[in-house]
Symmetry: C2
DNA sequence: CGTGCGTTTGAGAGGGGTCAAGTTGGGTGG
DNA sequence: CCACCCAACTTGACCCCTCTCAAACGCACG
């Protein structure tokens, strides 16, 4: 195997974005030898809640939604994972089945890192654990904030919120449209409401001059306005 | 200082309930020498969101609510911490200000462990980090579940949910009333609704024979019924 | 050229928020 | 011990938000 191959973990830049950056040369080599790179097409499932994971998935390119099915039969999107993020680590750490399902929102490139490599580093590399710990601490804060927003903000505010989130995290294309295009249904699943209400909110925003739309693509025309809405002014 | 004193960490049973159980003898001694035991009365504040914490609080007795103020001016209770739980560790790990405020729900006994001791063990004791990591992983799962419930369940269901939670986590007294007594306002803040609606829901439950009340105390008379409500049957 | 999925709009019912007005109950000072 | 007071609790009324069912529309794909 060619050690200079681009697909080798030692040479992967993505690593710098997450806790895997703390891994040592030998660990990376071991992972590189056993990891599996995979291409996932838009809409395909990566893993499902309740499934026992035997490794983690490092997102090399593309975006995935992490959702959970509620008892009322509706999906709730809890998190959106993109380049550099590692999916499934929580389950492996807690030694539990996956709590969320992961589905690709567009074409993705993933690296699957087997459980053994992950737990090996987990038990032997203190810096790696530290990095992971810090990562989880951050995720926990985010989750707490989401709880507050879900409980206290209206659908209007939450829709404004996700538009702002998509803008700051994924940016816009040349025409100013949000780069990450979600279906109305997915937006509704993030916001935690019915698709119809989500659509109505968007048309209302359009009427008020906050956004423009072209098909399912959305352009933010008044960020200030959305910000104020989000903050409840 | 008497090493057999009950207040010494080495002899503290509470420790077994959390990640501190992984600490070594010397670490415990060091902590014991610098820790501060504190008594907090019902309603008193332990720390506030935005505050820089210089240590963690180990709950030796009593119960605390961890809440966050939403922009609309209402408090959202995110978590209820009781005997054996450690408050503030997330902030210290992430090296951030506190994201939540902690207020005592009844009289409490706390041990304050200075930042230095905590971070010292954090950087030197792999077992301790592992335990912490697992703990955070579990909290993260809980938080994700709360997000789904907040987004997808009705107020009725969420009120039923917290009653069941109080029952399983804090039990009942001799008369069958829930041991942990919350004000209607606190219940509303957990559920994420207005106090009035919370009260109305409770009176409805009473009319339906699911619960009985005496003052602010609540007795569950039909656990099955609440379970079914919670699960959306 | 249909067929199916995603999107959009309408209308009605019920849930939930809010304001305002009582009521209770526990604590305090006389 | 009683009277008082304040905070917590309770209830009513009203209106807006949100959910749901239903139907029409567009677009892509076979």
């Amino acid at each position: 195997m060619n050690p200079h191959e681009e697909s080798r973990c030692e040479n992967c830049i993505i690593r710098e974005l997450n806790a895997l950056r703390s891994l040592k040369k030998e660990e990376l080599k071991a992972i590189s030898d056993s990891k599996v790179s995979r291409t996932i097409k838009k809409g395909e499932s990566i893993f499902k809640e309740g499934e026992k994971l035997n490794g983690v998935f490092c997102v090399r390119d593309g975006v995935s939604k992490l959702s959970k099915l509620s008892e009322n039969g509706k999906d709730q999107i809890v998190k959106i994972a993109s380049k550099g993020e590692v999916m499934g680590q929580r389950s492996l750490i807690a030694e539990e089945a996956a709590n969320l399902s992961a589905v690709a929102l567009n074409d993705m490139q993933l690296c699957f890192i087997p459980k053994e490599n992950f737990t090996e580093s987990l038990s032997k590399n203190p810096e790696f654990i530290q990095a992971l710990l810090k990562n989880m601490a951050h995720e926990l804060k985010m989750a707490d904030d989401v709880i507050v927003n879900m409980a206290q903000k209206t659908v209007n505010q939450r829709v404004a919120g996700i538009l702002l989130y998509l803008d700051t995290h994924f940016g816009t294309d040349a025409d100013g449209y949000l780069s990450l295009v979600l279906s109305r249904n997915d937006i509704a699943d993030v916001v935690g409401t019915a698709t119809e209400l989500c659509i109505r909110t968007l048309t209302k925003f359009k009427k008020e001059g906050l956004i423009e739309t072209e098909g399912k693509r959305i352009k933010i025309s008044d960020r200030e306005g959305l910000d104020q809405l989000w903050e409840g002014v």
